[in-house]
Symmetry: C2
Subunit: 89 residues, 2 copies
DNA sequence: GTTGATGATATCGGTCTTGATCATGCCCCG
DNA sequence: CGGGGCATGATCAAGACCGATATCATCAAC
């Protein structure tokens, strides 16, 4: 599924024009990106939670050469599925 | 950030009524949930990719009692940040 | 049609996930 | 706008799985 599919689906199910659907999807993704960039946690009950977490790691490795590579500390985005998405087992 | 915040943001930036924004957000999350439930991969260039992956794990533990708990194999949803979200380090 | 982001791949270390339970707080509904 | 229902966070241990690297082909997005 790609962005276009979501837009079609939204345009249809939310009963708004395709153009509005495009803008809405863009707006949502944008809002989420900005929020995450600010290091915030995004909680959507029933769907899941996006959480920006600090990464402490220190040693990586270049699979191609086998050389050790330092992994500078940084941040990672973790997505934790909500109740509705945890029952796929 | 919670669902309400996104709705406000969308309503404002996409220039659609608050009600439409609510429906749009719900529609999008719903579309994504359904897709993932079908085991599909959701790719949104520049944002990230949601991928349903099999999980092998086997042993967990109840923190309170220390009792081992079986964790049957199942599926997990992995979110891989896109280019725009990988530069938060 | 064009542009450029993403997948795949290999290796090894160490962070993180997973199930159960209680308290907190998000979200629905009046 | 406030109350209540119920999803979610924190917690434990042990083992599974991620992440770093570079390059080409593929395909999402405009």
């Amino acid at each position: 599924m790609i962005k276009t599919d979501i837009i079609n689906n939204v345009s249809k199910n939310a009963d708004i024009t395709r153009v509005k659907a495009v803008v809405a999807v863009e707006a949502i993704l944008d809002a989420m990106k900005e929020s995450m960039r600010r290091g915030e946690r995004i909680e959507l009950r029933g769907f899941g939670v996006f959480q920006v977490k600090p990464r402490k790691k220190g040693i990586g490795r270049n699979p191609r050469t086998g050389t050790e590579v330092r992994i500078p500390p940084g941040k990672t985005i973790r997505f934790k599925p909500g109740k509705d998405l945890r029952n796929l087992r």
